[in-house]
């Protein structure tokens, strides 16, 4: 009995200690988290600024004068008509087309798409199409990984499952060469299905049509051959920089990659002087496997005249031009981006969010990210950025584009109805409305980009620099996909990513890494059945 009494006593002491310990741990964690949220009160701070903008004008003007003495970010200066009014106007515009929209009434079409903002911009408009045509639309939306697995499997089976698939250049190279897609010229040229004058195919940004035409022979250049898809959303890349910091530090926007390296060094030194370095970094670029090769990297390679493959599809990763481009690119990353272990985890959404949070002075990434960065409700840097075209190099200036597009599988049982959907979704009024109302940036038509409404929304982005930069990029410097059209291109890009990571982590020299990349790429292409003369 005595021992039992002792045990009871010791258990209650243990109970007491563990309870106190637990409470202390919870309190410590709570204290730490409270400190963290106090240090990053992103949403609250923005809301406060917004309220002040409305009520205490003089205070706001003062604050802004200190940092960015140009203009304050404004909301659009026009008012959108009501939803009902817009639907009526769009329907009236669509009915101007000299085609019978009701020709396939009663049919059902299935659209397959990965989850993406462009789908969010399109979905609210689908009832308009159903109402106009009497065609029912079913959208199958999957995550990127699921979509990547399911669509090729379905298309390869030849079973009529989808009538429209979202597509893009790198998918076209696989699906087109496998013979799974329908060419679209016959629908575009059919007066019963397309009113060419109304549809105005020449209105599309030229680079978006360049990537949609291809002979479907691996290695053949794009821009020639039949039309496989019609673009619905496009991106190219711009250099965005913190104009307020650049003015304060007496810097100008870098014009060349050499300039960018120097600018990055100066910004780093200034940040260190002001005790900002570590909390902020001079530059952010995409760093994760595969994604490291698809944004700014596609601007440095052409600037140095680098080509990825020769006419026999032999990789040119050890060429003088490729080495030069990779040397300066990795030097810029090592100098200006966060340390490698952080850099390797930066994907496009980190560039978008962290730039908006004010963690970087510069980036080279998607043009449409400006829609977020210039929105004071989502960004700390609204009104503080300026934009310019991608840097130039000894061989000139340029960058690739990526265009999400709509294509029709060969196995579709409703190809003509599917074409009507494509014609509708990519028509001027629908693209205009999806951009103005639902933020489908970047629009693929000049008429939409230059419409008074889109101009009113975007004219103050970067104090006017965004529109200048975007217009210049799409008019002069967009190169199509840049990489050689090949079904195995993702495999090659993964290999290049691995080489870039090795260089950035100082595991290999540029020459060693690229020599390895070439060997790996040759092996991969031979495994895929190519006969290479090496």
């Amino acid at each position: 009995m005595a021992s039992s009494g002792q045990e009871e006593k010791s258990i209650s002491r243990r109970k007491f200690l563990s309870t106190v310990g637990g409470l202390a741990a919870v309190a410590a964690l709570g204290w730490g988290l409270a400190g963290y949220f106090a240090a990053f009160p992103r949403i609250e701070r923005i809301t406060e600024t917004k309220v002040k903008t409305k009520t205490v004008t003089s205070t706001v003007t003062k604050t802004i004068t200190k940092t960015a003495p140009t203009t304050v970010v404004t909301t659009p200066t026009f008012k959108l008509p009501s939803e009902e009014e817009m639907k009526r106007r769009i329907r009236a515009e669509l009915e101007k087309a000299d085609i019978n929209w009701k020709k396939f009434a009663g049919k059902e079409i299935v659209v397959s798409s990965p989850t993406h903002p462009f789908l969010d911009a399109l979905k609210p408009l689908v009832p308009l199409f159903e109402d106009l045509t009497g065609i029912k639309v079913r959208i199958e939306e999957l995550t990127e990984a699921e979509w990547n697995q399911k669509v090729p499997t379905v298309l390869a089976s030849g079973v009529p499952t989808y009538d429209i698939v979202f597509c893009g250049p790198i998918y076209l190279w696989g699906w087109g060469s496998a013979g799974w897609l329908e060419t679209l010229d016959k629908y575009l040229d059919n007066p019963e299905l397309t009113d060419k004058e109304w549809y105005d195919f020449d209105d599309f940004l030229p680079a978006t049509i360049k990537v949609s035409r291809w002979t479907a022979k691996p290695g053949a250049p794009e821009g020639e051959g039949p039309l496989w898809m019609v673009p619905i959303m496009v991106e190219t890349y711009l250099l965005a920089y913190r104009e307020d910091l650049f003015k304060k530090w007496g810097l100008t926007a870098p014009d060349t990659w050499e300039d960018l390296l120097e600018t990055v060094k100066t910004v780093k030194a200034k940040m260190k002087e002001e005790g900002l370095y570590g909390k902020m970094y001079p530059l952010t670029l995409r760093g994760t496997r595969l994604f490291i090769t698809v944004a700014a990297y596609t601007a440095v390679l052409p600037a140095y005249g680098a080509r990825d493959l020769d006419e026999n599809l032999v990789p040119l990763y050890d060429s003088k031009e490729w080495i030069e481009a990779n040397k300066i690119y990795t030097e810029i990353i090592k100098e200006g981006c966060p340390p490698p272990s952080t850099f390797f985890s930066i994907n496009w959404y980190n560039v978008l969010d962290d730039m908006a949070a004010g963690l970087y002075a510069m980036t080279i990434d998607c043009d449409f990210f400006a829609a977020t960065w210039e929105n004071p409700e989502k960004s700390k840097v609204a009104g503080k950025l300026a934009y310019t075209v991608v840097p130039a190099g000894p061989a000139g200036r340029g960058a690739r584009i990526w265009a999400w597009s709509l294509a029709i599988p060969k196995s579709s049982a409703n190809k003509e109805a599917a074409w009507l959907f494509i014609e509708w979704a990519t028509s001027k009024p629908v693209l205009w409305w999806s951009t103005v109302r639902y933020g489908n940036y970047m629009p693929v038509r000049w008429s939409v980009l230059n419409s008074p409404e889109v101009e009113a929304i975007t004219k103050d982005w970067g104090h006017g620099t965004w529109r200048e930069a975007v217009t210049e990029m799409y008019a002069k410097y967009t190169l199509g996909s840049y990489y050689t059209p090949l079904p195995e291109q993702i495999t090659l890009l993964n290999i290049i990513s691995d080489a870039l990571h090795d260089i950035i982590a100082d595991r290999k020299t540029v020459e060693e890494a690229l020599k390895w990349a070439k060997q790996e790429a040759v092996r991969a292409l031979k495994e895929a059945g190519y006969e290479l003369p090496v």
Binding site: E7, K15, W175, A178, R289, P339, S497, A528
Partner: protein, 287 residues
């Protein structure tokens, strides 16, 4: 002897479904692994015997991915089982609020791996993450979560966060099955905590541990979501595990034959592992 056809006829539909759903695709995968089968070049389909296997066993990347997967599996199940046991021992005792905490502990298991991965991406962010903030308050630098030497460990950590509760549940069930009188008798005899653990608790948990290890080892060997979401196998090939390799070969490169051969090799490894553990389970069960 008269053969009764009646039961066979009744079973036939079920057998056909099981065969077509489970064994059909498996046999088809074996067949594909002997072909040059390029998803995007269907016209070049041809028989190539064991060439895909030969290609894999001479591929530095494939052999590297087997090593990384094995390392990931060993580290993950070791960490998860030790932590799971520790937490189970903690919550085995009747302390205030134990039922509530038991409920909280198992929560990570119900979260989708992709969501867990993205949560950790935010949590570990060296610039904006709460963890780096807490560490900086203590004057400590943020660890290199996604470096060459650390990325795989980070993946183990995330997997452990999500799946330690599984071991916790299994061990707790095992612990609840131990006779209290046995533990009390040991205490009266003056046994220390570690003596009770060594001579009473662990022997009781042996069988259930082996079953849990088998399930988790097979799961870990197939790890995909967390890695695909966070690193896609990078940096370089630091987290290039078997599932990532198979996914990229099959769906990104379109090499169905090579992907099928890699899947069959993975299957063989898992069968060997599963059989070894099952044998141990049988022995433990008999013992």
């Amino acid at each position: 002897m008269k053969v009764k056809f009646h039961p066979i006829l009744i079973l036939l539909p079920s057998l056909l479904i099981i065969f077509s759903v489970a064994y059909g695709p498996f046999l088809l995968t074996i067949y594909y692994s002997t072909l040059f089968y390029h998803l995007y070049k269907p016209a070049q389909l041809s028989f190539r015997g064991l060439a895909n296997y030969a290609l894999l066993f001479t591929s530095e990347r494939f052999l590297g991915s087997i090593f990384k997967t094995t390392l990931f599996t060993i580290l993950a199940i070791s960490l998860e089982s030790v932590l799971g046991l520790a937490i189970a021992l903690l919550f085995f005792r009747e302390i205030p609020g134990v039922r509530f905490f038991r409920g909280i502990v198992v929560l990570p298991m119900v979260i989708t791996p992709v969501v867990a991965a993205l949560m950790f991406r935010l949590f570990l962010d060296p610039l904006t993450g709460p963890l780096s903030y807490l560490l900086s308050m203590l004057g400590l630098p943020s660890p290199e979560w996604f470096g060459y030497e650390t990325a795989l460990i980070t993946m183990v950590m995330i997997d452990a966060w999500q799946w330690t509760p599984f071991f916790f549940l299994v061990f707790l069930t095992g612990l609840l099955g131990i006779e209290k009188s046995e533990l009390e008798a040991a205490e009266i005899d003056g046994a220390s905590f570690f003596q009770k653990l060594r001579y009473i608790i662990l022997p009781h948990l042996k069988l259930i541990t082996l079953i849990a290890l088998t399930i988790r080892a097979i799961d870990c060997f197939k790890i995909f979501d967390i890695i695909f979401t966070l690193t896609r196998g990078g940096p370089g090939r630091a987290t290039d595990v078997l599932s990532i390799y198979i996914f990229q070969q099959t769906f990104e490169s379109g090499l169905i034959g090579v992907g099928a051969a890699a899947s069959i090799i993975t299957f063989a490894i898992l069968m060997a592992l599963g059989n070894a553990l099952l044998r141990m389970i049988s022995k433990a069960g008999i013992g």
